[in-house]
Symmetry: C2
Subunit: 345 residues, 2 copies
């Protein structure tokens, strides 16, 4: 174990291009794992946004780890993309979801980045082929789509697109695992990757319910968090339904449940128009539901709950908890390797 760990430890430099909530979450992931993080954002307010995200991350992420985390890395704000990517082995782009903006950023990254660097995009809307088109070294471009809060939720959808370089993929996975994440290799190129297709489908249903006064935001949230949300935190969809099918198995479950899909639930199939009226209705219902808390308060509540839910699963070594236990071991090995190296120097 000691050689790759030591090699890895020698060059832990990440570049974060775009410092909003998502970019800030990436900053926190790397920084709290001892990486030097070089940030570029043209918006001067990015510094404060990242500071706020870091504050949340420092208050929560260490609680997921059995031992003390590595000493924080150095955080550097850079005046150009060229400076930010210099020496970085991971470059993460989290700029606004417009392909022309992303392409311009990639042009600048390609000019200055090491050819060995992995370039990840946080995009939820674009597919790898769209990002790679016209690139000199397309092999090192990945969609690396994380989930908010990035510093706590392990999932990152890692989409190489149709041409896969196995070495680059493996390298990318190793780096993401080193910062405690669960890289899910998405094998197919498709709009919205995997998770956001589900989120879209649910969001569309929710919009219909609110538009037609069938349910409020509060009622919808309660329908999720007192019921199937609790199941999905640990098992997801299919393992849960496998149990529901009983000893007769999944095929039996599908035979029971499947035909419902063909019922004429036409509402499911259309998209409601996002009129000002509908937007206002959602916003005011959300105010009534959650307006007693500031966003900062809600962030802390969410993070504390996530920490507790994740630690509960850690105790059982299940799902995300199993991942966290493995990560504890990895951090302990890194520390041991570091001590050995110090002793040898």
């Amino acid at each position: 174990m000691s050689t790759p760990v030591a090699a890895d430890a020698q060059n832990k430099v990440a570049a974060i291009i775009g410092g909003g909530v998502i970019g800030g979450g990436w900053v926190a992931r790397f920084l709290l794992h001892g990486w030097r993080v070089q940030v570029y954002d043209q918006d001067l307010s990015a510094k404060n946004k990242i500071k706020a995200v870091l504050e949340n991350a420092r208050a929560s992420l260490p609680k997921l780890c059995a031992d003390a985390m590595p000493a924080e890395g150095e955080l550097i704000f850079c005046d150009s993309i060229a400076l930010a990517v210099t020496g970085a082995i991971w470059i993460q782009e989290s700029v606004p979801e417009r392909l022309d903006i992303k392409q311009t950023v990639f042009d600048e990254i390609e000019t200055s980045a090491s050819t060995d660097a992995i370039i990840g995009s946080s995009t939820s809307g674009f597919m790898p082929s769209e990002l790679k088109s016209g690139r000199k070294h397309p092999d090192r471009f990945f969609v690396a789509h994380p989930f908010n809060p990035v510093y706590l939720l392990p999932l990152v959808e890692l989409v190489p697109g149709e041409q896969v370089n196995a070495d680059k993929l493996n390298h990318a996975q190793n780096i993401l695992e080193a910062i405690g994440m669960k890289p899910l290799h998405v094998r197919a190129e498709m709009p919205a990757h995997i998770a956001d297709r589900f989120l879209e489908a649910v969001w569309r249903e929710a919009l219909w319910m609110i538009k037609e006064d069938q349910a409020t935001t509060q009622e919808i949230d309660d329908a999720i968090r007192y019921g199937f949300g609790l199941r999905w935190a640990q098992m997801g969809l299919f393992e849960t339904y496998r149990i529901a099918g009983g000893e007769a198995g999944m095929a039996h479950f599908i035979a029971q449940f499947g035909p419902c899909l063909e019922w004429p639930w036409t509402k499911l199939m259309d998209v409601p128009e996002l009129t000002d009226e509908l937007v206002e209705k959602i916003a005011s219902q959300s105010d009534a539901q959650s307006g007693q808390h500031s966003i900062r308060e809600l962030e802390r509540i969410r993070d504390n709950n996530l920490v507790d839910i994740l630690c509960a699963q850690k105790n059982r070594n299940w799902g995300a908890g199993e991942l966290l236990n493995k990560h504890d071991k990895r951090l302990a090995e890194l520390k041991a390797a570091g001590n050995q190296q110090s002793a040898a120097e």
Copy 2:
């Protein structure tokens, strides 16, 4: 508080018609809260099924309560619906999802039940108006749609339909709360109520992904349980997105996210045909994912995880955890009232 509690305590008799996994979950909820439970199921195997559910419930539900639960009630298997409903104040129907079967069961219930009894249906597919049609006392019929495992998940969708008798609704809510549940009054009559519309939408997307070899059951489950599933266990959809919108609020979030809905993701809009081939593909992927565990083992894993996740939220007095803390108080008051009554006798 003491009068209704004492009144409630005097007549805690529930009838459970249909003893599958869902019926068995209802049996466990009532029985472990000290109710006498009278069961009818024409299938002789129901006894064993209920026994298995009860074993799971006894191993998990008490862990959610701060103090010892009430002494278990008496469990009686009856030879007819008429016998089962005699003296019951709550009658729960969980027979197969065919309207003709349900109507026959309701005919028999109406003949023998007290006119004060509430009659709940576990149906996910039928709407209250379909159940109430032709009934002598339609006011006491509700859809009371629970979620598996019924003995642990608090949510029950309580749908009175268009004609609402406020007293009956209130009475039904009180009884469900007394057995630790979260009755969500679903104000609109609509196919699939609230939660199953979301489950349907997600299930349909998942079928497409598997059919088209975009993802396996394992990859889909991981995309959920390492990411948004963890968010939904505690906050649901809208409160989570409210945070993502930041201080700019929900309207800002919708402006950013909404337009994606109109992209031509036509796959979302169709229903894949459930061919034998597709069913076999799902079943074999599910075997590869979870086949190392028996269904009984998976049930225990699921239940232990749910207990841990729920207790974590109890510590924070949030969401389902807040409900459980309230329920602890209710149980303590009941116990105190019972002690007082014993002393007076």
